[in-house]
């Protein structure tokens, strides 16, 4: 388990018992590149034994600037990433991340956590 240092990190990261990494951004965070990279690095560390799926809770995220969005176009270790939001705003942001940066592994937007977890598990089961 990796927990965010409030002074430096704007997120909390945990590894749940089912092997899914959970990333929760603090409320109202405007995500910059260094934050995105810190989050992805933390997730990469949790994948040192092998790729694991990543669930990103980005509901209440204020914004993700362009350089931060570009980080998702870089190489990362998690096997797939589910972006969980709850608004049309989140959907727009995620689709900008996906459309413009062409991630190398599957990233999908969900508004329903159960569906997100099912998709992540399906991936880790080889689906």
């Amino acid at each position: 388990m990796s927990s965010a240092d409030a002074a430096e990190r704007l997120f909390t990261m945990t590894l749940d018992e089912s092997g899914i990494i959970r990333l929760v951004w603090n409320r109202g965070t405007a995500i910059k590149q260094r934050d995105a990279r810190a989050a992805l690095n933390a997730a990469n560390e949790l994948c040192s034994a092998g790729p694991r799926p990543l669930l990103v809770d980005m509901a209440t995220t204020a914004s993700v600037d362009r350089p931060a969005r570009a980080v998702f176009g870089e190489a990362f270790k998690p096997s797939r990433i589910a972006m969980l939001g709850n608004s049309a705003v989140d959907r727009v942001i995620v689709n900008f991340i996906l459309g413009i940066n062409k991630p190398i592994k599957p990233i999908r937007f969900f508004t329903d956590e159960a569906a997100a977890l099912a998709w992540l598990k399906a991936g880790s089961d080889g689906g």
């Binding site: 600037d65 709850n86 608004s87 049309a88 705003v89 727009v92 942001i93 900008f96």
Partner: protein, 529 residues
């Protein structure tokens, strides 16, 4: 989710859209905390504006980069057009431009510019001996030294080949002289060419500026002064004087005439006997070239050998001399004394050129002559540069049976122990050493010691310039066996020499006097190209 048309966020969207339409891409919307559909539109709007701004920024950056590349390419093209590719120096065009600027400056009250033109003295030799790559390295090194020798405000140009020019704008006579002297000095230093060392050397012409004089004229005059420096024996500076023009014109005319002299049959050989001091019998003859110019009459080698060297004709002339001397030797075959040898002086330029040994062997073979009938004379100074090609050629020539002699021994710097290491058969002692031996006891002992040294290393000694019976007797007493000089005959035409040989063959007196003509030693035999 239906949007309320009175929603103030819509007005905000309209305002920022107007801002965007005006070309300002920095405008952003502030979505509300509701995160509803309108906020999603605003967020999307912001993201699109951000992408657009980024694309614009990248495009502008690319335009800046491309523009810089274009400027660089234009600069490279300009350099290509205005700079010498090998050395990076200004070329003739750029030099001409700067020269015009400098003369214009003088018209507005500045000092007129001085112009220096210099030509490397030994470039042809380096190129011929060590190859074009070494030649190029030499030019690059010369360019580097010239840049270091001038002021920042001066322009150094390569006009072509091994000719360089320096523009000294706003120059005092002292400035111009000081720079010329620095140039001369720096080019006298050896040039490191990998395994070899070369000496470029330069003849320098300087034209002081004169208000009202065009750049072209200054350059032409500096060029004339450079030719005068060449004619003065190279490795010196000559300051332009109007009288130089006619001298240079004369020299250029001579070079032009010389180019046709060989095919026109205007060159001829005279022969000076080499005798045995005991019997006064002719044992050989030195072949000396003469030019029978159709309008100027007989021209001595001192007047045209340097012209031949400068114009590159020295090699062709050398081949002609070798061929003619050997051919004459073959014609004399029936009247020649046993072991008669013909002596031909060869230039250090010829020695450095590959193929001299094959050329000589071929000519001897064609005329059915033994190689030991030929003695090639080389200058003492031509050997001291320690060049590999020269030494290999000498070794090969001597191995083939041709005799090799050092000429003018005693006025250079080589020691007898140095000569001992060379592939030599003999030594010609310079005439200056024997001038006073009839009266000067110390000089006589000195000349005797020289003989002992030459003899002790197994070389044959021939003394040049013997003028009197007293000198001949003294030399004989000192041990010398062979000599040439006015006493035994001046250089003479073929008919006279043939008569001498026939007379000797009939057993008549060997004492004879040729017609009075000074014997200048030329060194002109060139190898085949």
């Amino acid at each position: 989710m239906a949007a309320d048309v009175d929603d103030p966020r819509l007005a905000q969207i309209v305002n920022v859209l107007v801002q965007l339409a005006g070309g300002d891409l920095s405008g952003r919307l502030k979505p509300s905390a509701a995160r509803d559909t309108v906020d999603a539109v605003m967020t999307g709007f912001n993201l699109l504006a951000e992408e657009l701004q980024e694309i614009y920024r990248e495009m502008e950056l690319r335009v800046v980069e491309r523009t810089a590349e274009l400027v660089k390419a234009q600069d490279a093209l300009r350099r290509l057009a205005l700079n010498d590719q090998l050395t990076g120096l200004a070329n003739r065009t750029l030099f001409g431009d700067r020269l015009r600027q400098a003369t214009d400056l003088a018209e507005r009250g500045g000092l007129p510019p001085a112009v220096v033109v210099l030509d490397l003295d030994e470039f042809k030799a380096i190129n011929d001996t060590l190859g074009h790559a070494a030649g190029d390295d030499t030019l690059i090194e010369v360019a580097r030294r010239l840049i270091l020798a001038v002021r920042k405000s001066d322009t150094v140009a390569r006009l072509g080949g091994d000719e360089f020019a320096i523009l000294i704008p706003d120059a005092t006579a002292d400035d111009a002289l000081r720079i010329s002297q620095r140039v001369l000095t720096t080019l006298q230093e050896p040039v490191n060419l990998g395994d070899h060392t070369g000496w470029a050397g330069a003849s320098v012409g300087l034209r002081f500026g004169e208000r009202g004089q065009s750049g072209d004229m200054l350059l032409r005059d500096a060029d004339t002064a450079m030719y005068a420096a060449k004619a003065m024996g190279r490795g010196n500076i000559q300051i332009y004087q109007p009288a130089m023009h006619s001298a240079v014109q004369d020299r250029l005319q001579l070079a032009s005439d010389l180019a046709t002299a060989i095919p026109a049959g205007e060159l001829t050989l005279h022969y000076q006997p080499v005798v045995n001091l005991d019997t006064r019998a002719i044992v050989g003859a030195e072949a000396l070239v003469r030019w029978l110019h159709p309008t100027r009459g007989l021209i001595m080698p001192s007047q045209f050998i340097s012209v031949a060297e400068d114009s590159g004709l020295v090699a062709e002339m050398g081949r002609w001399v070798t061929e003619a001397a050997i051919s004459q030797l073959a014609e004399w075959r029936d009247v020649l004394p046993e072991r008669f040898q013909v002596h031909v002086a060869i230039s250090s330029i010829a020695l450095r050129r590959r193929g001299l040994d094959e050329f000589v062997a071929d000519v001897l073979h064609r005329h059915h002559l033994e190689p030991n009938r030929l003695v090639l004379e080389i200058l003492e100074t031509g050997l001291t540069t320690g060049e590999v090609t020269s030494m290999e050629t000498l070794v090969d020539l001597r191995r083939s049976g041709v005799h090799i002699e050092v000429a003018d021994f005693g006025i250079g710097y080589s020691s007898i122990s140095y000569l001992r290491g060379l592939p030599l058969d003999g030594v010609k002692v310079n005439r200056s050493l024997i001038a006073d031996i009839e009266t000067d006891e110390r000089q006589r002992r000195f000349v005797g010691a020289i003989f002992q040294l030459i003899d002790s290393v197994g070389l044959r000694a021939i003394v040049e310039g013997v003028e009197s019976d007293e000198q001949a007797d003294q030399l004989r007493h000192l041990g010398y066996r062979f000599a040439q000089g006015p006493l035994f005959g001046q250089p003479m035409a073929v008919a006279a020499m043939t008569a001498r040989l026939c007379t000797q063959g009939l057993g008549a007196s060997n004492r004879a006097v040729g017609h009075p003509e000074s014997g200048h030693r030329q060194q002109i035999v060139g190898g085949p190209h």
